[in-house]
Structures are given as structure tokens and as C-alpha cells.
């Protein structure tokens, strides 16, 4: 029976188009948790058997039409995959110590560092700067090695939460592919040099430059919020007045010298125009927390989010109303909104009408959620905004040109939001006030032969400069090029000198957050593993001719800032900021200018004359949610993290709407040729419900050729992951542009999507259990606060479909039900707050030594993540809503897995935990079979065994020593972070006190920027988790099976605009 015909009433949820159509691809994962477990040695082409099946190709870059995906063999497959087996964590060798008399040594320190207790975790405050804005962190170190990163609750950009990038920084720190050596280009290939040799070269070279006033000397830097770096650059430019300083960020998260800040917590209505406030924004972690607070129903009120965007973002997925329009229509929409607001006369906007006329499909996009058409949507939204003057926010994303930002500023001003919920501030910092030169100027100067020496501080412009700015060619015309970077990447390989850069966890620096510029110190958690140096040290060498004491440099800046803001400069003040990670006196207030002093937004260059390609398609370039602009391409945790929206791992794709795909004759997963401005790229198509029609979104950051063994390295014969779309990008239209042509190729490409994996089989249950309630539940604010119909509706569903009286009668257990006298651990997940960003998934991976398995394994459903985020669509495929739901082990009280294990390898603890005993497990996989939630993961291979390779020794340091590393043939699953529970229990008992509520936080809970996860003791009457579980919105997933799940979900509350809902009803009638 198709899921479409299911008799269940109410909303229909579907994981993917494949499920909706009940396609064989979905059935494959529904019917067997590991569909290819029995045939692990065949390639997909062999499996399909018939010659008429579409052929698979290995990589998108080199399409030949019939290259099979490499064979899934046990031990001798792809070199990348083989290497990936290392990317988890391992004590595999040490685990063999069961054989006694292996002599093991205890190596004590000569002098124990102050405050160090062997084996006890220490925490250290630092900050991570990403593309010019920082987030404050607490790094957990064990015996001097960082193993886990958490958010710093004192830091305003973190508030204790993190994102996936910061969680994954640990793996980057220990990446064996990070650059180890100084290289110098020479005839016959680059040669390894030492830092001394570089200093020997640099001293006279820069002395000569100083003499000439820096003529022909250019610096190209990546964006950084470091005040110390800014001061050093300023000094350098003072001493070398003719030198030029350029800055380039390919995927800027902010635009221009203006920064806008919002108070989402105080906002009743939030409108995002192509603005991914909760996902890609530099302050996303804070905004997620504020937004989630606004989702709490307080006195019958909660915030309402409207999102207008071209492709699904986590913000769009959280929206109450979402309108999918092309990115280039946003300007017209904003203008229409301004007119509607300023004229106080909500009406038809010519801008939108025009847009509709030129793109007929846009008109047909009306859906329940967009209220019928963009016009009605706009009218209802404008009315809603006007009804909440001073309590609303209109945001526009950095992709949109300057005039749209000005329009939105006018809207916010007209709504009286300025200084209420919206603030604008000039970017602080001496570096930013005098804007750096763009990369175009550098290329022009280089091509004119005016550049003698180029110093590149971070960044990878050879890879990520737009296609019309041939950076590599310009580089060849420069006498001396020096590149400082963490990896020996595409740019390094073309430079005269490559210098290994220290990781942010290895070096002293400082950073400021978005937008206020709260000042934090970046302090090293470990000595440089690869003898790297920071940008501060290099700049200092150029200035002074000798290596500096970086700590002193940073401290000097700290003292300068302290003098400005009136803070202390004493040793104690210094220790305080090192301890707290944030300066108590924020300089932000000082730097905040008056509205009248703000410069107008810098107008972006008008898009060049469009080449008529006979196509009306639009291309939108997006920074990737996992590899960002490509800098995290060698990070296995991020590569294997399913994209929050597409659930895609190990690839990027051209994202098309179902209607556009149909019009173009493109099938899902088919390779398509994208032609744009003379450039061409072939990448797989991904049909995404909710994508704007005639708009194609592509993710930047893939197709790296010198990233490393994970992300792709042509030198080592490792194929790139995904396809590089920078070569389609033009400096005239960095973010979106029309004129794209898409041609299907008829070649099928295997996309490793996890959306259908571990599908919970409600379809098959129908015959025997109509009573199975919805896995995911949603209600609306009016229902929630009114008659409580939200839950009543579900009960009605159960009643209707089963014919029994609802709620379902209490079932008797087949088993003796245990009593829990001590602790009773439980979890509650607030679906209203979860935005589906994926930070928890990476946090879980880092905390629990979960291996990375590689694309080939993900394709057959063998990813090892203990925590997955299910994504459901609901509504019309042309314009659906998304609901996300994190699912991990539910620690059922009547756990079905325990009942079938013949070896007692999974047993119940006295505190209600479903313990997994790896040593007893022989891998029958009965438990996984019997788990209704599909949360058990099996180690089909020893994903850790290649730690025996000495080159990968350093990766072992990333492991959490408190968690066993699992080997082949063993089942594993979420433990509720039992190591954290035990640590807290022991600490509390040692001090003779009870465990406080909130003292134990699971890794996912701690990482969650929105605070959606609550964990605690259900036997503690005061605990937050008990309160949550007693909410009338609380429900257990598949509770009807009488397995008594310990994890409870809180029904998601949406807050739709009643006007738009009424419109829907009327239209349906």
C-alpha cells in the first residue's frame, strides 16, 4: 500500500519524494535496515544485473558513462575509504592487552604542571574565528590534549551552544594531512625547508622592502576579527606606506562595513528575506537560542517566523510560513514589502507581479503555507508586521545586493524597530574602518606586473577565487609569493614559500564576536603539533625581524583595549579574561555609532550584461553547511554529517525543484551539465521539494584537489569529494545570477543520502497496528492554547483508524516491570526548538569515538552516527513544510533489543539505561532487527584498525579516553553519554552531595544551540526533564508498542498566521 493512500488522518509526513511515491529505493531501506548486508562484495552495477539499468559513475568530475563505483570489498577497497577507517578513534591495539605480561609503562611527569591531575579533564576558554567573527569556546583537555569542544556559556555568541564547525575543530587539529613543513618552490619540485631557512630569507627580503617603502608588496588576508592582527597590519602599512592590503572571503557571512544585529527573543514577528539567521549567519548560534526562547508558549504567545528564500535552509525549515521565490526576486519582494509597510496600505506589488509574469511557475507555487500566492503572503505578512511595530524584525541575507539592505533598513525604520529589536553598527576594529582592497585589485596589479612580493595569510584563493579572476595565472606573474595555511593546499602548491599555520587550538591570538565585537582571547590548548606558526607571528617577524612572544603580543592588545574601555591591565585581569574567555567590559558599546553616522551600504557591482543563453534558470551559490567554503573539506566528521536539509553526505549537488526537474527532464541523482557564462560543471541533480522553481542552488567548497586524504588530493590519487562550482562563479555575480542552462546527461550518479536510512516502518505495521500514532507530531498555537485540540486531534486519529476508544488502553507487559528506586535517567526533546542544524550529531561523534565510514558505506546505509536527525516533509511537494526530529536510542524500559539478545550483551541497568556491553556482543544483530526506532549501529568492519599506521598515530589523540573504541562485529548505540553520568555520580558522591538537576548534560544537549534537549533524573521531582515529560505536549514515539521509551518528544507548536490559514481553507473549498 502506498503511503499516499494511508488512511491516517491529519497531516501527512514523508521523509523524501521516494517515500511519498513508495519508490523501490525507499522500500530497500524500509524492508531491511542494512539492505546490502548479505551482499557486501558486489558493486551496485553488478547488483542491478540488467544492462538497461542506468550506469553508475565514480566521480562527477570524470564522466565516462560506465565507470562502476568501486567494489565494496572488505579490506582492499578505495584508498580513501581504507584511510577513512582510521578516522574514528582507536585503542584497538591496546585492546589486545588481554594477553597478560605485555609490559606497560607508567610515565610520570618530572614536574606536574600546576592544577593538572592525571586523567582529569581540564577546561580552557578560547575562541574560534570563522570568516571574521568569533564564537567563544571551552575546550576540554585530558592530560594536555584537547578532546572536545563546548560552547562558552559566558560568551554572547555562544551562550553555551556550538555549531557543527566548532564541534569538528578537534578532528582538524589532529588531522595528519595538516601541513607539517615549510616548503620552498625549486626547480624539480618543492623542497622541504625549515623555519630558520625561511627567517633567513625573510629578514633581508623584508628589510629591502622596508627601505623601498613597500612598493610592490601586497598582502592578501582572509577575514579575521583579531585586533592584534589588525594592529600589526596597521603597523606594517605605516612602515611600508606603499604596500597594499587585500582581503578575500569567498563565502562571506556578512556584508560590507555594516553589521546588523537583532534581538530575536524580543521579536514577535520575524521575517527573513533570503537570510539564514539560524544556520549560516555569523551569530546563528546565539540567534538559535533567542529564537528557541521565543518559541516557548508564554501566556498564549510565541513568535512567528516568515521566511522568503530560494532554497531550503534551517531557518526556512523552522518557519511558520515560507515562500519559495528565486533569489533575484527577493529585491522586488522587499521593495513591495516596503511599499506595503510605508504606505500602510497592503496591496498588490508590481514587483511581484512582474516576477510572476516572467516565471509562470512562481504563481503556481501557492501552497497552504504561502497562503496561496506571494501577493497574499506578502499582504498577510505586512499586516502582521504592522500589528507588531517595534516588536518585529525584518532581516535580509548577505547574498542580496546593497540596495535591498537599504530597503530592509527602511522597512525596519518604518516599523519602529531600530534600537528596539534591530541595531546597526559599523564593524569595529582598526582594520575594518579603512576598508581593505578587494582581490580584483590584486589580480589587476599582478597582471600589470606591479606585484613583487605577495604574502597570503590563510585562505585558498587559487581554489576559491571566482572563475573570471584567474588567480593561479596572476600568481605566476609575481616574483615572490608566501602562503601561510593549515594545509598544503591548491594555493600553497603554486607559491614560492608555503608556511604551515598553527591551528587555533595551538596558538595565541584574539578575536571578536559578531556584531558587537566582544573581545576574547584565543589561547593555545596544546603546543603546535606540526610546528606551525600563526599569522601574528609571521607579521611580527616581518616587522621586527625576529620571532615574537605571541602571548606578549596578545597581552599588549588586551592592555590597549582595557585602557580604552577602562578595564584593568593587571595580571589578575589577564588571568580573569583567560579564565572567563570574554572581557567583562565589552568595547562594543564604545564603538557603536549613531544611526546618522552610518555610511550607506556599499553598493555591490551591478550584475554584468547577462549572456543570453536561452535559459531562464537562476544559479545560487551557497556556502556549504558542512565544509563551509571548502576549508573543512578534509574533515571526515563534517563530510559525513548529513546536510541539514538535503541529508546528503560526501557530495554536493545541483538542487532543483520537482517542477523544474520535470520541465528539464531530470531525474533525481542524474548527472546534469550546468552551463553558465561560458563555464561548465557536471554535478548530480537533487530534487528538493520546496526549492524555488527555475532556481538552482549549488554548494561551494567541494571538488578540492589538494585538500588531503579525505577531501581529495590529486597528488595522492584521491578523487575529490563533490564538484567544484567556484569555476562557475563570476566576480560580477558572486551569489546568484540568471542565465544558467541545465542539461541532463542520462548518467546516474550515486548520491549518499541518509534521508531514507533507518526508516521506521509504519507502513508495514498498518495491518496489525492501526494504532501506531504519528512519529512526529505538530500542533498550532491556537490549538495548543485554545482547547488543547493539538493532542486531541492525535487521539482522534488513533480512534478513527483503529476503531477503538482513545487513548489506547494501558497494555499489560509480557515482562516483569522493574522499579527504579535511585536515579531514573530520561530525556525530553522539544521539537518546537530543534532547528535540525546537526551540531548534536557531530558532538555525539566527537564525544563517543564514533568512526567515519566513507561514502561507499553510507550508500548502503552503514553510517555509524548514534544520533540521527529525521527530516519529514509535509504538504504539497511543490511547497512543503519541513519538520525535523532527532532520534537516538530511547532507552526503552521494556526494551525489545534486550529481549532478543542471546548473549545478554544489551541489558537494563538499575537506573533504566539500556547498557550495551561490547565484550559480550558477538554481532547477531538480532537487537537491531527488533529495535522499532532503528537506532542501533553495527560495526561491519574494524573502522579503527589503520591506526596501526604510524602516520595516523596523531589521530588517536582525538579520542575520548572515557569511551571504549569498538571493533568489528560489535553493535553500538547511544548510551545517554553514560561516561558523563558516571563522572557526575562519582564527583557528587565524593563530595557527599546529591546530583543537581542539570549537572549531567549529554553531548548532544550541551552542543545544541537552541537548547532543545533536556536530560535528567525522572525520579527527581524538581527536574527540568520531568517537567518537560509532564507537559501535555509530551509523547513517546511508538509508545503504543508498550516499549516505554525514556526519551519523550514535545509536540512541535507552529504559529501560523490565521489569515493565511483561512485563505488556505477558502482556496481548498
Amino acid at each position: 500500500m502506498s503511503s499516499l493512500e494511508r488512511p491516517s488522518a491529519g497531516k501527512q509526513y514523508w521523509r523524501s519524494l521516494a517515500e511519498r511515491a513508495d519508490a523501490p529505493e525507499f522500500r530497500r531501506f524500509l524492508e531491511a535496515e542494512f539492505p546490502d548486508a548479505g551482499v557486501p562484495y558486489l558493486s551496485p552495477t553488478e547488483k542491478t544485473g540488467t544492462g538497461s539499468e542506468p550506469k553508475y559513475v565514480g566521480t562527477a568530475g570524470a564522466v565516462t558513462g560506465s565507470v562502476p563505483v568501486p567494489v565494496f570489498d572488505g579490506d582492499d577497497g578505495l584508498s580513501r575509504r581504507r584511510w577513512l577507517q582510521l578516522m574514528g578513534a582507536s585503542l584497538a591495539l591496546a585492546g589486545l592487552s588481554g594477553c597478560r605480561w605485555e609490559k606497560r609503562e607508567l610515565v610520570a611527569e618530572v614536574k606536574r604542571p600546576k592544577g593538572r591531575t592525571p586523567g582529569k579533564p581540564q577546561r580552557l576558554a578560547t575562541a574560534m574565528d570563522l570568516a571574521g567573527s568569533a564564537i567563544g569556546l571551552l575546550v576540554t583537555c585530558v592530560d594536555g590534549r584537547p578532546i572536545k569542544i563546548e560552547g562558552n556559556p559566558r560568551h554572547p555568541a555562544s551562550l553555551g551552544g556550538t555549531d557543527a564547525f566548532t564541534q569538528a575543530a578537534i578532528l582538524e587539529l589532529y588531522d595528519p594531512d595538516r601541513s607539517h613543513d615549510v616548503y620552498r618552490a625549486a626547480e624539480g619540485g618543492p623542497i622541504v625547508q625549515t623555519w630558520d631557512k625561511f627567517a633567513e630569507f625573510a629578514r633581508p627580503h623584508f628589510a629591502a622592502l622596508r627601505k623601498s617603502g613597500g612598493a610592490g608588496f601586497h598582502i592578501l588576508a582572509e577575514a579575521s576579527s583579531s585586533p592584534t592582527r589588525a594592529i600589526l597590519l596597521e603597523q606594517l602599512l605605516e612602515e611600508l606606506p606603499d604596500a597594499m592590503w587585500h582581503e578575500y572571503e569567498p563565502a562571506a557571512r556578512e556584508r560590507g562595513p555594516l553589521r546588523t544585529d537583532f534581538d530575536l527573543e524580543a521579536s514577535e514577528v520575524i521575517v527573513c528575506l533570503d537570510a539564514d539567521l539560524l544556520g549560516a549567519h555569523p551569530a546563528a548560534v546565539r540567534y538559535a537560542r533567542e529564537f528557541a526562547k521565543g518559541r516557548e508558549v508564554v501566556e498564549g504567545r510565541m513568535n512567528r517566523l516568515y521566511v522568503v528564500e530560494s532554497h531550503f535552509t534551517v531557518t526556512g525549515a523552522s518557519a511558520d510560513h515560507r515562500l519559495a521565490i528565486r533569489a533575484e526576486q527577493i529585491a522586488g519582494f522587499a521593495e513591495a514589502l516596503r511599499r506595503a509597510i510605508e504606505g500602510r496600505a497592503p496591496g498588490v506589488s508590481p514587483g511581484i507581479e512582474e516576477a510572476n509574469a516572467s516565471h509562470p511557475r512562481a504563481d503556481a507555487q501557492g501552497s497552504p503555507d504561502s497562503g496561496g500566492s506571494p501577493d497574499k503572503f506578502l499582504r498577510a505578512m505586512a499586516d502582521d508586521l504592522l500589528a507588531h511595530k517595534g516588536q518585529c524584525v525584518v532581516a535580509v541575507g548577505p547574498r542580496q545586493p546593497g540596495h535591498v539592505h537599504e530597503t530592509v533598513r527602511a522597512i525596519n525604520a518604518a516599523l519602529g524597530n531600530m534600537e528596539q529589536t534591530v541595531w546597526r553598527t559599523v564593524d569595529y576594529g582598526p582594520d575594518r574602518l579603512e576598508a581593505p582592497q578587494p582581490i580584483e585589485a590584486l589580480i589587476a596589479a599582478a597582471n600589470a606586473g606591479h606585484v613583487g612580493t605577495l604574502l597570503i595569510l590563510g585562505g585558498n584563493p587559487v581554489y576559491n577565487a571566482p572563475a573570471d579572476l584567474p588567480f593561479a595565472e596572476a600568481l605566476a606573474k609575481i616574483g615572490t609569493t608566501i602562503h601561510l595555511s593549515r594545509y598544503r593546499d591548491e594555493t600553497s602548491r603554486l607559491c614560492t614559500w608555503h608556511l604551515p599555520e598553527a591551528h587555533f587550538l595551538e596558538a595565541w591570538s584574539d578575536a571578536r564576536s559578531y556584531p558587537g565585537g566582544e573581545y576574547s582571547i584565543v589561547q593555545p590548548a596544546i603546543a603546535p603539533l606540526n610546528d606551525g606558526r600563526s599569522a601574528l607571528e609571521i607579521l611580527s617577524l616581518l616587522l621586527e625581524g625576529r620571532w615574537p612572544d605571541a602571548e606578549k603580543l596578545v597581552r599588549k592588545t588586551f592592555e590597549t583595549i582595557a585602557r580604552i574601555v577602562g578595564g584593568g591591565t593587571s595580571d589578575q585581569a589577564w588571568r580573569e579574561i583567560l579564565h572567563n574567555g570574554i572581557s567583562p567590559a565589552s568595547p562594543a558599546a564604545l564603538m557603536m555609532p549613531l544611526e546618522s553616522e552610518l555610511p550607506a551600504v556599499v553598493e555591490s557591482k551591478p550584475a554584468g550584461k547577462k549572456e543570453k543563453s536561452g535559459s531562464d534558470l537562476e544559479i545560487v551559490f551557497c556556502a556549504d553547511a558542512k565544509v563551509f567554503d571548502g576549508r573543512f573539506a578534509n574533515n571526515g566528521w563534517l563530510q559525513e554529517l548529513p546536510d541539514p536539509m538535503t541529508r546528503l553526505t560526501w557530495d554536493n549537488a545541483a538542487i532543483l525543484s520537482p517542477a523544474t526537474a520535470e520541465r528539464l527532464g531530470v531525474a533525481n541523482g542524474e548527472l546534469v551539465r550546468l552551463k553558465y557564462r561560458g563555464g561548465e560543471a557536471q554535478l548530480p541533480a537533487y530534487i528538493m521539494p520546496g526549492q524555488a522553481d527555475a532556481s538552482v542552488a549549488v554548494m561551494l567548497g567541494y571538488g578540492r584537489t589538494a585538500a588531503g586524504q579525505v577531501g581529495g588530493s590529486s597528488a595522492d590519487g584521491v578523487a575529490p569529494v563533490g564538484v567544484d562550482v567556484y569555476r562557475l562563479r563570476h566576480s560580477a555575480a558572486m551569489h546568484f545570477d540568471s542565465g544558467l542552462a541545465v542539461e541532463p546527461t542520462g548518467v546516474k550518479y550515486p548520491l549518499a543520502m541518509t534521508q531514507d536510512h533507518f526508516a521506521i516502518d509504519t507502513v508495514g505495521m498498518e495491518a496489525r497496528a492501526q494504532r501506531v500514532g504519528s512519529l512526529i507530531r505538530e500542533t498550532t498555537l491556537s490549538e495548543e492554547t485554545g482547547t488543547g485540540r493539538g493532542l486531541a486531534e492525535h487521539e482522534a486519529v488513533e480512534k478513527d483508524s483503529s476503531g477503538q476508544s482513545a487513548p489506547h488502553p494501558r497494555q499489560e507487559s509480557l515482562w516483569e516491570e522493574p522499579e527504579y528506586k535511585g536515579h531514573r535517567w530520561g530525556m525530553a526533546i522539544e521539537l518546537s526548538k530543534c532547528i535540525g542544524c546537526g551540531a548534536c550529531v557531530v558532538a555525539c561523534q566527537a564525544e563517543n569515538n564514533i568512526p567515519v565510514v566513507g561514502k561507499e558505506r553510507v550508500l548502503v546505509g552503514r553510517e555509524m552516527h548514534w544520533l540521527r536527525i529525521d527530516r519529514y516533509f509535509t504538504g504539497d511537494p511543490a511547497d512543503p513544510q519541513i519538520a525535523v526530529q532527532p532520534v537516538a536510542c530511547h532507552h526503552c524500559e521494556m526494551a525489545p533489543c534486550e529481549q532478543v539478545c542471546p548473549f545478554g550483551a544489551t541489558v537494563h541497568s538499575a537506573e533504566g539505561l539500556n547498557d550495551m556491553v561490547y565484550n559480550r556482543c558477538v554481532g547477531t544483530r538480532y537487537c537491531a532487527n527488533n529495535c522499532p526506532y532503528k537506532v542501533r549501529r553495527f560495526n561491519f568492519f574494524n573502522y579503527h584498525k589503520q591506526f596501526r599506521d604510524a602516520a595516523n598515530e596523531v589521530l588517536k589523540m582525538a579520542h575520548n579516553p572515557e569511551v571504549t573504541v569498538r571493533s568489528r562485529g560489535v553493535m553500538e548505540k547511544c548510551t545517554y553519554c553514560v561516561q558523563r553520568i558516571q563522572a557526575a555520580k562519582i564527583a557528587a558522591k565524593n563530595e557527599g552531595r546529591p546530583i543537581e538537576d542539570g549537572e549531567i548534560r549529554t553531548a548532544c544537549q550541551q552542543a545544541c544551540p537552541a537548547g532543545a534537549i533536556v536530560f535528567g533524573d525522572l525520579n527527581d521531582k524538581q527536574s527540568a526533564v520531568l517537567r518537560a515529560c509532564h507537559s501535555k505536549r509530551a509523547y513517546g514515539m511508538l509508545a503504543e508498542l508498550n516499549v516505554k521509551p525514556r526519551t519523550q518528544y514535545l509536540t512541535r507548536v507552529r504559529n501560523p498566521n490565521p489569515v493565511l490559514l483561512t485563505l488556505r481553507v477558502r482556496e481548498e473549498a
Binding site: 571504549t964 558522591k989 565524593n990
Partner: protein, 223 residues
């Protein structure tokens, strides 16, 4: 005459073999038992682990320092009450005394070298639990389990040896019946402490007083 009757007349085995048949039966039953028993015994912690006493790089004598001079365990193993590891002391700890005491001893060149060159000493681990076991010293010491319960009379050992099995069964014996080993907190490090009342009575009282209910869940020690 047929061949059959020939065979009947000349059996392959002599008659007396029949008398050995019960013996063969017994052997068949006993030999596997014996082999399995031997393998079990040879591989048991009782045989393999108890008595392990590796030679240390420096002939540090607990008998001298603890037994004769009466130093407390916690003088060197400072973290035992607060951390999972009862950490091996850094060279610095030794040097607090040995800068002056036996400073020129010919038994301590390695110690002096370690101090001078800032090179750590490589001690050999005696009590070594498998890596999948997460034992925490602080949880036991602060609850009144004496050092001697697991480590034996360290104060009599010239060279430290393992005296207990440290097997899972051995751990569980105490986790199920902690009364046998509980003692007042202040005597935790005392090597020769004996209760004045019967251990069972004292243990029961201490258990109730301090609410000691050791868990036997798998996840208590295995994570």
C-alpha cells in the same frame, strides 16, 4: 572354510584388551575435562596475574618508605581521593626528600638524571586493568575501601607485586557484599588496621551510614 570364520577365529585385538575398555571410557571422559581445566586454570587471573612483580627501573621499596618510615600512601599518590588514577608521583615528589636524603645514593642515579635532564622515569605498570574497564580510585577510597583490600600489604613489599586477581568476578564479589571491606574513612590508607568489632557488623553499619550501594550494572565499569 570361509574367510568369515577365519576372522572369527583370529580376532585383531587380543582378548585381554577387553579388560581395558572401562579404562578407555574413563580416559575419554577425563582427558577433555583435564585439558579444559588446565587451560582454564592456566589462563585464569589467579595464575597469570597474581604474583606479577616486574622489576622497576629504580628499586623503590615500599617496605622501606611505607613499612619502616610510615609514610602515608597519599604523600606520593596525591590524586587518589579526587581522581580516577592514583597517579604515579612526578620526579619532583621524590626530589623533595632526595635532594637531601640519600642524595648521593648509588641506587638513585636514574632519579637524579631524570631530575637534571627533565626526562620522565618509565615505571612498569603492575596493576593493569583492561582498557574497557573504567576503574575510579576516588570512588572507592572516599567510600572507605582501604588500599590494602586490593593492593595487599604494600608496606611489606620490597618490589610491588599483584596479590589479588583483579578479575571481574573478584570485583563483583565486593560490589555485591561491600561489608567485607568497608572501613572508617580515616583508616583507608592504614596497612595494618584491624577492626575491633567483627568486620561484618562494622561493614553493615558503615554501609548504612554512608549509603553505600555499589552498582553491578555493566555500565558502571564498561562504557
Amino acid at each position: 572354510m570361509s574367510g568369515k570364520s577365519n576372522l572369527m577365529a583370529d580376532p585383531i585385538f587380543p582378548k585381554w584388551i577387553d579388560r581395558l575398555r572401562p579404562l578407555a571410557g574413563v580416559l575419554l571422559a577425563v582427558v577433555p575435562l583435564y585439558l579444559v581445566g588446565m587451560a582454564y586454570y592456566a589462563g585464569s587471573p589467579e595464575t597469570t596475574d597474581v604474583g606479577y612483580s616486574p622489576v622497576q627501573p629504580i628499586a623503590y621499596s615500599h617496605a622501606l618508605h611505607v613499612g619502616e618510615m610510615g609514610m602515608d600512601c597519599r604523600f606520593c599518590h596525591t590524586t587518589v581521593e579526587s581522581a580516577a588514577f592514583a597517579a604515579i608521583p612526578p620526579t619532583e615528589t621524590c626530589m623533595t626528600c632526595h635532594k637531601n636524603v640519600a642524595a648521593e645514593s648509588d641506587k638513585l642515579p636514574l632519579l637524579r638524571a631524570s631530575w637534571a635532564d627533565e626526562k620522565p622515569i618509565h615505571w612498569v605498570k603492575v596493576h593493569d586493568l583492561p582498557d574497557y574497564v573504567y576503574f575510579d580510585h576516588s570512588a572507592h577510597v572516599t567510600r572507605g575501601i582501604g588500599c590494602v583490600s586490593c593492593h595487599g600489604r604494600i608496606d611489606r613489599m620490597e618490589q610491588v607485586a599483584q596479590v589479588e586477581r583483579l578479575s571481574m568476578g573478584w570485583c563483583l564479589e565486593c560490589h555485591r557484599n561491600p561489608e567485607q571491606h568497608l572501613r572508617p574513612q580515616e583508616f583507608v590508607t592504614a596497612m595494618d588496621w584491624k577492626p575491633i568489632e567483627p568486620q561484618e557488623v562494622l561493614g553493615k553499619r558503615l554501609r548504612e551510614k554512608n549509603n553505600i550501594n555499589p552498582s553491578t550494572d555493566c555500565s558502571t565499569c564498561h562504557r
